[in-house]
């Protein structure tokens, strides 16, 4: 008989892992209220990409684990304003159909997995936009560049 870890003990495990800190510290999470015996409301933090003059943006999120967690995926909502295709621009809610970790949810996944995946997208869109902006600048400077041309009608 394989052991199916009940919701509360699963969340206690996640809490203990979150308290120790995960990976390189770019994501963290914990209970919103340390008194919440049902452990439903969580805070998450994602540190955005560095390497820029506007070093390390911090994004806060709220995660709600209902009574059927982890069989049912949690609700995820950005508190920080962020422009990403899977985030509702009026309320910050993450559209679960647009984020693979939520649309393909299974009880083997965790709050940590969600934050790590969101961070990947944050980084991806950040670099995509940065690269796009750089290309635009280069194109513009290329078009504006006045290459000296030989006089009209001259031949080799």
């Amino acid at each position: 008989m394989s052991a199916k870890v009940p919701r509360n003990f699963r969340l206690l495990e996640e809490l203990e892992k979150g308290e120790k800190g995960i990976g390189d510290g770019s994501c963290s999470y914990g209970l919103e209220d340390g008194d919440d015996i049902l452990m439903s409301n969580w805070n998450g933090t994602i540190i955005g990409p560095g390497h820029t003059v506007h070093e390390n943006r911090i994004y806060s999120l709220k995660i709600f684990c209902g009574e059927n967690y982890p069989d049912q995926r949690p609700d995820v909502q950005f508190v920080s304003r962020v422009n990403l295709p899977f985030v509702n621009q009026t309320n910050g809610k993450v559209d679960p159909t647009k984020l693979p970790v939520l649309s393909n949810w299974s009880r083997a996944l965790s709050i940590e997995n969600i934050l790590v995946e969101i961070r990947k997208y944050v980084n991806f869109f950040y670099y995509f936009l940065a690269t796009f902006a750089r290309c635009c600048r280069e194109m513009a400077s290329f078009n504006n560049r006045k290459l000296p041309q030989p006089p009209e009608g001259s031949v080799f």
Partner: protein
């Protein structure tokens, strides 16, 4: 080991220890609803405390996981109901059983140990003014453990 589990459960249900009940969930035989009555003569007397207990895959090589669901003012039990008890951690032995664990938790209610605290503020209260701390424990028992 697979047959050991239901037998232990059977005994636990058929012959419960006084002041303790443990019933497995229908859909998860490793997950128990537990009720422990507060021991007489302690500030938790007459309280009925709800707990949940889970036998992990490694049980009995690893200890059961237990926590209080009822709020309790006790130096070795924190706000989330987690319990600081040696047999649930490094002093676990496969010879111990669910019944022993629950009896030990009941005994912990009679004999709080503020020198090995989990709820540091409660432990401080117990060390500085035991009478007053016991009064709060009793108040919480009357308020939450009914």
């Amino acid at each position: 080991m697979q047959t050991a589990l239901p037998k232990e459960t059977e005994r636990l249900v058929a012959d419960p220890a006084p002041g303790i009940s443990a019933l497995p969930h229908d859909d998860n035989l490793r997950y128990f609803d537990v009720i422990i009555e507060g021991p007489g003569g302690s500030p938790f007397a007459n309280g009925k405390f709800k707990l949940e207990l889970f036998l992990p895959e490694e049980y009995p090589m690893a200890p059961p996981k237990v926590r209080f669901l009822t709020k309790i003012y006790h130096p070795n039990i924190d706000k989330l109901g987690r319990i600081c008890l040696d047999i649930l951690k490094d002093k676990w032995s496969p010879a111990l059983q669910i019944r022993t664990v629950l009896l030990s938790i009941q005994a912990l209610l009679s004999a709080p140990n503020p020198d090995d605290p989990l709820a540091t503020d409660v432990a401080k209260h117990y060390k500085e003014d035991e009478k007053d701390a016991q009064r709060v424990s009793q108040e919480w028992t009357q308020k939450y453990a009914v």
